[in-house]
Symmetry: none
Subunit: 197 residues, 2 copies
């Protein structure tokens, strides 16, 4: 009987410490999500392969991640953004059902694939103090990123300041990251993307 499995007893990591033994699916770290969101909101909603690799390299500074993960992330983000939009449009349209389907907002698939620059109005915050406290409570970050249980809106406050053909709805932004709030992520200050490059 081949009783030498790789792990007879299921690894019930009851401890709240989970370094890297997860074989399931990639769970992007808060910092990684931030980066991805920033890039996405920067207008690059569909990065070419070259950029994907570059992004992956960036994300790898915070945890294992493959090109496929990045690829899927953008794919899903695009798809779901669109779906949400259509849902909302259909919702508010109701029985109107006139209006050309998504006149100028639907097919807006403009993407600037020429190297994203996050050092621009990064997150709509003043580029001054980059809190480098490197709080060990997080994972392995070393920048002004702290985990908190509130203030997600701060994170997405920039959504209306970018010149991106993204959601014109200034509301329901939070729902993108997880409905109510859940996402424990708060941005501290400054253009935290500088240290990435």
């Amino acid at each position: 009987m081949e009783s030498e499995s790789q792990d007879p007893n299921t690894p019930p990591n009851l401890g709240t410490e989970r370094t890297e033994p997860v074989r399931s699916r990639w769970t992007p770290k808060p910092e990684q999500i931030l980066i991805l969101e920033s890039i996405f909101n920067s207008g690059m909603v569909n990065p070419p392969k070259d950029e994907t690799v570059r992004i992956r390299k960036l994300l790898e500074k915070f945890g294992s991640v493959g090109d496929a993960n990045v690829f899927y992330w953008f794919q899903n983000r695009r798809s779901r953004s669109r779906r949400r939009q259509r849902q909302i449009q259909a919702s508010l349209a109701g029985e109107q059902q006139a209006q050309a389907t998504a006149g100028g907002g639907g097919g807006g698939a403009i993407q600037y694939q020429s190297g994203f620059m996050l050092n621009s109005p990064c997150l709509g915050l003043s580029p001054s103090s980059c809190y480098v406290g490197s709080s060990s409570s997080s994972s392995s970050s070393s920048c002004g990123l702290v985990e908190n249980g509130s203030g997600v809106d701060d994170l997405f406050s920039f959504s209306g300041q970018m010149g991106i053909p993204e959601i014109e709805q200034n509301s329901s932004m939070v729902s993108i990251l997880g409905g109510s709030d859940a996402s424990n992520l708060q941005y501290q200050s400054g253009n935290c993307m500088a240290w990435l490059f």
Copy 2:
């Protein structure tokens, strides 16, 4: 304008829907997948139209399927295979970056389009017991196919035993499917292709 679906508005029929809830897209049955996989791994990665029809006829024994479905399946399979190859190559290459870029592994597009024969080392299993339990828990199979929640490797263990110019990597096969995937498909035994003809 992509508004020419056979059913634009989502079918809101819920509740008294039995038999086949009119799936929007073709969902190949496990048996069908096996057949297709076998054909593909037999070397016919790009069947001509004639063969496509023949394959479709075979698959129809297990469920509705059109020629287009078969056509798309092979197309996607090829594309995906290649993409995976590149990914792996790039992955293990890492900082090696020597070696002629995809020297002889890239352009191997050999295909034997002259009538596939699945009665060969079908799946690298001994042609003896064809489990015909016809477990009603599955869909509508009548061969040795059972659905399980483990042992995907068993299904793909043949990858190295075929004389096919497919992945030469005898390792990291699992990663091809998606790391520690969860595809619930397990092959039981025997060359189950005999009854097809």
